[in-house]
Assembly symmetry: C2
Homo-oligomer: 219 residues x 2
Amino acid sequence: MTDMKIYDAMRTLRAVRKLRPDPIPEDMLKRIFEAATWAPNGGNRQPWRMIAVRDAAAKRRMGELYTAQWAPYAVNYAKAFPKLPGAEVEKHKRTLAAGDYLAAHMHEAPVLVVVCFNPALMAVTDAKQDRVSVVGGGSVYPAVENLLLAARAEGLGCVLTTLLCADEPEIKRLLDIPAEWGTAAMIPLGYPVGQGHGPISRKPVSELFYNDKWGKPYA
Amino acid sequence: MTDMKIYDAMRTLRAVRKLRPDPIPEDMLKRIFEAATWAPNGGNRQPWRMIAVRDAAAKRRMGELYTAQWAPYAVNYAKAFPKLPGAEVEKHKRTLAAGDYLAAHMHEAPVLVVVCFNPALMAVTDAKQDRVSVVGGGSVYPAVENLLLAARAEGLGCVLTTLLCADEPEIKRLLDIPAEWGTAAMIPLGYPVGQGHGPISRKPVSELFYNDKWGKPYA
């Protein structure tokens, strides 16, 4: 699977939320982690670290915390259903059910990857704008995307989650993360229960790209 | 080049700062943009849009603004040189020179991609933490990384820049970006002047990954 072509990996990288507990071969995990190290980042300071959590007790606690965050998120997610067309509702109901499964079975995934970052190692160029900052993420999530794409190419299921960032203080205590580091994501990795990756549903280029100015259609 | 294997693209995606003014074929650009649309994002809301700027006057103004931001950044960057070993200093001096070139020639790149995002479409789960927020970037920079990897696979030079986020109000006026949208990155695209992409210098897995807890070596 590691010979996968880049566009094939990208166009089939879906959120895989049902994972088998089977262990991941060490050499495969190492290839996936190395892919993350290659990512671009500001000033090549690589202001991130990742913790590969396999400890059963830590995974169980993370699963409990995730479930507590997921429950209200799911309630809120479902509130939009009455406004959606029927076919859309069915799709979103399947997503919710998969999310329920992920939360209930989180601790069974063989590896939970916790992504940490250090703001002191970043030039946060949007810090003074009158809106939430995102630029620090520019030195973190490219590595996360590399990791996801590599996992997909290796045949592993995975999904980018950020709900546990709301429980950062407890996650930091649980994993001995130093005071000056924050958490940016948690990615469960494992072989898929079902078919795993495959077709995805995304907006087309014509809806997401503009030509020269905002609103001018990209043709 | 579009048959490139995923690990080959990732391990050779370097910051290419010297770009030729030659136009990019439309079908190639479309493939690169489509790769961005495939990226994972929170709740599949795809809270980003990208503007492909080819207008000469807009590119020139963006180049001026970039140069004004780059100058003090470069001075600050060079301040660390006395603390570095000699071989490292030479490497960083080359990076600075390439940065100078990029700033001076920004307007010559055939396409400048401006990445926008809407915080109202994001669940920013780290908003209440006592540190700079990054989680919004988790729904933006995976798309940016896909775009960079696709550009690299197509043989185009590119580099992820965020300096213009400090000039967001003027960039928004210049490109008619609505009030509720912010800017997350600007990526010049073009054929490389020199060899373009190639070997990169990054920390190894052993320095970036931990096993179960922070500080416990990943073996």
